[in-house]
Symmetry: C2
Subunit: 300 residues, 2 copies
């Protein structure tokens, strides 16, 4: 399937998730805020990675919808909370007012909280075709990647880094937590979408998982490097968020640390590293290769 | 074991949980805020219910630590977020400054986020003595109870209800979500802490689970009714939070809807209902009975 096919698939799947039953007084406000934040927009990079990894391992696509949706819900929750006034204080996201602007701050916090819970709820429902051990592993990967040693830690470092001069290594540690952890989790979760524990831990899959993890680490960082370039070279309308906002907020970026030319070279090298990691795969990994190119070349 | 034994046990267990590894710049700030909010205080009612339910079903206490800790982490996260300026705007909790006062708002939001994730992370680690199917079920119970159809929905209703006149039924729906869902989940999670799926779904356990759920629903509501009474009759120092804050915030309470005398009668009836639900249990349910009395008589 093409990238557009998968984007369409996850859009429809997310739309079908009962984001919350609406009843009594205005809990429908919560419901609306959850849908507003999770639906209708975004590149869906993390679900794309789940599906493309599934393709590379010839996994039935139906088994991938729940992990793809769960990780996108975690991403959506993190965006809502990151945009809050006490955090990055952003007014625009995906070309629309951020959730706390479109609704209010309390509703935005609650909608983020609820989207996080919903991700784990989805992954803990029994499913056909994935054993309970593998399901627990998938859930554990997502929890570790998004929690206090993963994404949340990255955001915490990010807030503390405002106005500071970081080294390239420090910047990389920040991004590896803030963005990289979920990108790697997308790939790793997909490698456990199998019927038995033995399949998921077979020699063949363990070897492939290692290559896929390397791939994901390279594109995770490439994604952020490209983001930093776009923050300078793109415009607000194309980005769907405020152009130049990182620099305006005094956040360290690759161009500010190493200059634009070295930043572009770094991006090129990360792309090469990602493709090299897939050397043992045939055309079944073409979707993963396409995502790597997309991340490097994307304009928004 | 006594209530104090269990309170001590959960305190020590929570203290041993790696709330987040600390390294690099100030993610130790996040770590400190998580510990500040989760440790050293609170009645630990939800963990007590996990342990006491385990006693009633003669479950090995070692199997109960993780669910007990996970549900307390969810409770701790909800308190941090509920106290935020855009929500209930409370400055005092458990006799200490609330997390956003002791740290800052961004750190409080992130610490809450991370505590929620950590709860699911703990429950998705493989454990000896509980099969993966039962673990998934335990996790699913917690997710449903705390998410957009449970606790978060309750908080959303609560915010929308400020300054409105609710009926007794409406108030009950609010509390059943906001507080009741997690109290019931504490009891239900414990009933799945078993080696096999067959044990957890045996006729005997299914029947007992039904009685225990009835018990938990009665004490969940009793807990809130007692809270409303204390909000009027206690004082700030004893409560560890601002006395009269519900009334000051224009929140509907049982005494404001039905008067103090009828509220006390309601509390008495709920306590009776809780004890009646345990009629088929012997002395192995004495801890549950003691918790019911504690909830009705507590002064803070």
């Amino acid at each position: 399937m093409t990238r557009e096919d998968y984007q369409h698939r996850i859009e429809q799947f997310l739309d079908s998730v009962p984001l919350s039953s609406s009843s009594f007084i205005s809990s429908s406000q919560l419901h609306e805020a959850m849908r507003y934040s999770a639906l209708g927009g975004g590149k869906r990079v993390r679900p794309l990675l789940v599906y493309a990894t599934g393709e590379a391992l010839k996994i039935n696509v139906d088994l991938l919808d729940l992990p793809a949706a769960a990780i996108e819900l975690i991403h959506a929750y993190s965006l809502i909370h990151d945009d809050l006034p006490s955090m990055d204080d952003d007014a625009l996201r995906r070309g629309k007012p951020t959730t706390h602007i479109a609704f209010d701050e309390a509703t935005a916090i609650l909608a983020g909280d609820a989207l996080q819970t919903l991700a784990f709820q989805l992954l803990s429902n029994p499913v056909q075709g994935i054993c309970a051990e593998n399901q627990l592993k998938i859930l554990n990967i997502l929890a570790i990647a998004s929690g206090p040693d993963g994404m949340v830690k990255g955001q915490s470092i990010d807030l503390a880094a405002v106005g500071k001069q970081l080294t390239e290594d420090e910047l990389e540690i920040m991004h590896n937590h803030k963005t990289g952890a979920l990108i790697t989790a997308s790939v790793e979760m997909a490698t456990y979408c199998m019927e038995t524990k033995e399949q998921a831990n077979s020699e063949e899959i363990v070897k492939k998982r290692r290559s896929l993890t390397e791939y994901s680490q390279a594109i995770g960082l490439a994604f952020q490097v490209r983001d930093d370039i776009l923050d300078i070279q793109s415009d607000t309308e194309t980005l769907g968020k405020q152009q130049g906002s990182d620099i305006a907020a005094g956040k360290p970026t690759y161009p500010s640390i190493m200059g634009m030319s070295a930043t572009k070279e770094k991006l090129f090298n990360l792309n090469k590293k990602a493709l090299d990691s897939l050397i043992d795969f045939g055309e079944e990994a073409d979707s993963l290769r396409e995502i790597a190119s997309f991340i490097v070349k994307r304009i928004a």
